[in-house]
């Protein structure tokens, strides 16, 4: 088997198709057609990047998910078609003990890093320990870890304090990618307990990568671009594109324009309102797929000015006063769904939870019952940004209009993301609006972040109480599997929905827009876009 000539042929065909497509669309732009004989066509992706670091154990962002997936590999991966199916990655097989506290992975002996050295158990141990010890934003993913054993070079045993049936899903998260420990340590990285203060490899990772993924990092210019080159030592199926550039294009309209001109192959954040501009353009393919992302408002009674929200009837009334269908229309031009609880559609436990519905009279009656017939005023501080096509500013203005109908005055205070984060870390705000995208494919993350449990992420510090029911149910879910676990997650979803601290607003669909000769563009639940899967269709 000789893959090289085949690839060349495929590229020729692609050139021909692209030429025809361009001619058909009458958007004749010579620059859009790759040079037919010499050089490889680079893949160019346009994206508003939320990158602050490229260190795989320090970063925590959507763009990080995409890049880490291209540069590093995980022990296991998730089947995009069925998120409950775990597929082999660096580990060819794995098993868990009966109570899900100990997980054994057997590494694939073919797996090598980009410098040709084999992927060994010591690298896995080092990478996981570094993730924990750097105490970065993603360190919580390995909370409760008690030890990692490496009986031989191909076997890793990870043990936890409490049952953790979510671990296989967590292991597939891009933040748990395996790093070549020898190379990283030579360049200042450390996995020791004091890594948070002694590790100084963050700068090195901005220009280099040390993984076993299909690509390696060649260049990064902050605010401009990230450049990747195919990993010549890659042990899996060789990626089709030999070089990939991810380009910083901040707004949706510029992304659209560059895609139309053929300057970029994939535009990642096209707004639904711009979709009509692409209709009938044969050189560009668009697909609308369901996502697990959503925007929500959180009602936080313990924040100053949040007193009326202590009454669950008030929170329920606010939920009923929002015109959800109008919201989906206004925010994402109808390309979105409603969601019943903080566990998004498609995750375990979400299926049978009732969707929120608009009931103005019901909302008024509930407010009257709670003693707020004359209404009250709430202030809402939220980050001023567009998340997955949803402009939070617009969402809050629409909700403001809806709440005015039941006499609730919402004062809007949009701020920068960093300012919002410091408000949430400080005195808080009675109402806020944010977005959430999954880190992995297990529902536990939603209870850990949105549940009213001790040490809960967003909600618990502001409720003034802890729900013992939710705490117990979460521990129960993590020790269960299969249908039992689904049932427990559903009970949790219903309990969180009844609490009404977090009201999901819109679950936007994702718009994939790309040059029609590119294949493999798909939304991956763990990793957003898998660059290694992209190719030219012919």
């Amino acid at each position: 088997m000789n893959p090289a000539p085949q690839r060349t042929r495929r590229r020729w065909r692609a050139v021909a198709t692209a030429t025809v497509a361009v001619a058909l669309a009458l958007t004749g732009c010579a620059g859009g057609v790759p040079a037919a004989t010499s050089g490889d066509r680079p893949l160019v992706i346009a994206r508003a990047m939320d990158l602050t670091t490229l260190d795989p154990q320090r970063g925590y962002c959507d763009t990080c998910q995409i890049l880490y997936t291209a540069l590093y590999e995980r022990l296991v991966t998730i089947d995009p078609a069925d998120t409950s199916t775990v597929l082999p990655g660096l580990a060819e097989s794995w098993e868990a003990n009966a109570d899900n506290t100990e997980f054994t992975f057997h590494l694939d002996t073919d797996a090598v890093f980009s410098d040709g050295s084999p992927v060994e158990a010591a690298d896995v141990k080092w990478s996981f320990e570094r993730l924990v010890n750097l105490q970065g934003s993603a360190s919580f993913l390995l909370a409760g870890l008690t030890g990692i054993e490496t009986p031989d070079a191909e076997t890793v045993v990870v043990s936890f304090e409490n049952p953790n049936s979510a671990f296989l899903a967590i292991v597939a998260a891009p933040y748990l990618g395996i790093v070549n420990s020898e190379v990283a340590e030579e360049n200042g990285a450390s996995a020791a307990a004091d890594a948070a203060t002694t590790d100084d490899a963050e700068g090195w990772f901005l220009a280099n990568s040390a993984g076993s993924g299909p690509y390696t990092l060649t260049d990064y210019t902050s605010g401009e671009s990230v450049e990747l080159a195919a990993n010549e030592e890659y042990w899996g199926d060789e990626p089709e594109f030999t070089s990939v550039e991810m380009k910083e294009v901040t707004d949706s309209s510029s992304q659209l324009q560059q895609l139309q001109q053929g300057d970029v192959d994939i535009a990642m954040q096209i707004s639904p309102d711009a979709l009509a501009q692409l209709e009938g353009n044969e050189a560009i393919a668009t697909e609308i797929v369901d996502s697990f992302n959503y925007t929500y408002i959180a009602l936080l009674p313990a924040a100053p000015g949040g007193e009326p929200l202590q009454d669950v009837r008030v929170r329920e009334a606010i939920r009923m006063a929002v015109d959800y269908d109008g919201l989906v229309d206004t925010l994402v031009a109808g390309y979105g769904k409603l969601q019943g609880s903080p566990i998004p559609n498609g995750f375990e436990g979400s299926e049978e939870v009732a969707l929120p519905s608009y009931d103005l009279d019901g909302a008024k009656a509930l407010l009257e019952e709670a003693g707020y017939a004359d209404g009250f005023t709430l202030s809402a501080t939220y980050p001023k940004l567009v998340a997955y096509g949803v402009d939070l500013d617009l969402q809050m203005q629409a909700i403001q209009q809806d709440l005015a109908e039941i006499g609730v005055t919402l004062e809007l205070n949009p701020t920068d993301f960093s300012q919002w984060a410091s408000t949430m870390g400080g005195e808080g705000t009675p109402v806020t609006a944010v977005y959430f995208a999954p880190d992995h494919t297990d529902s536990s993350q939603y209870i850990q972040y949105f549940g009213n449990i001790d040490q809960g992420g967003l909600v618990n510090p502001w409720t003034g109480s802890v729900s013992q029911e939710q705490t117990d149910l979460l521990a129960q879910a993590l020790s269960q599997s299969g249908d039992e676990r689904v049932a427990t997650y559903q009970a949790l979803a219903e309990s969180m929905a009844a609490d009404a601290f977090v009201l999901p607003m819109v679950n936007p669909q994702l718009i994939l827009a790309y040059a029609s000769d590119i294949s493999g563009v798909a939304y991956s639940p763990c990793c957003n876009l898998e660059i290694g899967q992209l190719g030219l269709s012919g």
């Binding site: 309209s253 711009a274 209009q401 809007l412 949009p414």
Partner: protein
């Protein structure tokens, strides 16, 4: 042209000719145009609730619909009438600009007059602070101050006063320095008038003309600055129909240009009108000064 003939007329020395120059200088076509536009917006500030076709905060139509008979400037992303919002915008931009300019003039003039009249260390301290403030580009400093105070139109006004007062301090100081050497001031000193009486009764009234002209010219710039701060998210908070904030919304909806068109036209018209008036005023008052 009236203006040209007016200036030619100034060459003759008869009183009648001079009077005709003065009256026509106040009524040059571009100034009249300015008066009409400014009057239009001032009328709106007072009575927009009877003039605007729709409630500026309510969703009254299909979202993002292009200009039509019902909505002359279309609707925005929430289905609000863009024309009504732009008309209501006058209620926010103009008062805040007026208050900011008056406050800047008051603060700047008093500090500048004191600096010029008292001199010495007081002069040095006040004018160095003014120099430091002026060494920053106005928009940058205003952004920094507004960001520190937090968003809101009131805070934007405060930021503008902080940025703008040194201009008037400098202007007034220069005037005071030259006027305090005049004979009428010296005679006031001779008859024993108090220092504050001399400053406020004998100097400042003579020094106010350039300040007045400058303030008129600056008013347009301040309308722009308010809009710029709101455009950057440091001014009006949603859903306030402020012009700069509306243009931000328009920029987000790149393919619906009408959303930004109405507030854009509003800003252009008011700034242009104020500049016309300011220009004319400068010419007209120059004549008086030269006389």
């Amino acid at each position: 042209m009236t203006a040209a003939s007016g200036i030619a007329g100034f060459g003759t020395t008869s009183i009648a000719a001079l009077r005709s120059v003065r009256s026509s200088a106040w009524m040059r076509p571009q100034m009249v145009f300015g008066y009409v536009i400014v009057a239009f917006w001032l009328v709106l500030v007072v009575s927009v609730q009877w003039i605007a076709p729709f409630d500026p905060l309510a969703s009254v139509g299909q979202r993002l619909s292009p200009p039509s008979a019902a909505h002359w400037f279309g609707t925005d992303a929430l289905g609000r009438d863009v024309l009504s919002r732009a008309l209501y915008g006058a209620r926010y931009s103009l008062p805040i600009a007026l208050v900011s300019i008056v406050a800047s003039v008051l603060v700047g003039s008093v500090l500048g007059a004191v600096a010029g009249y008292v001199g010495g260390l007081v002069d040095a301290i006040i004018m160095r602070i003014a120099d430091i403030t002026m060494s920053f580009p106005a928009i940058l400093l205003a952004m920094a101050v507004a960001a520190a105070l937090g968003p809101g139109l009131d805070n934007a006004g405060v930021a503008i006063i902080i940025v703008w007062w040194p201009i008037y301090a400098r202007l007034m100081r220069g005037q005071v320095l030259s006027i305090k050497e005049r004979e009428h001031v010296e005679s006031a000193v001779a008859i024993g008038a108090s220092r504050s009486r001399i400053l406020f009764r004998h100097i400042i009234p003579h020094a106010s003309t350039p300040t007045l002209v400058n303030a008129t010219m600056d008013l347009g710039q301040i309308v722009l600055l308010v809009a710029s701060l709101s455009f950057l998210g440091l001014g009006a908070l949603p859903p306030t129909p402020e012009w700069g904030a509306m243009i931000t919304e328009g920029a987000k909806n790149f393919y619906q240009p009408w959303i930004a068109a109405a507030p854009g036209l509003a800003i252009v018209s008011i700034v242009l009108a104020i500049n016309f008036i300011g220009d004319g005023l400068r010419d007209a008052l120059d004549v008086k000064a030269r006389r």
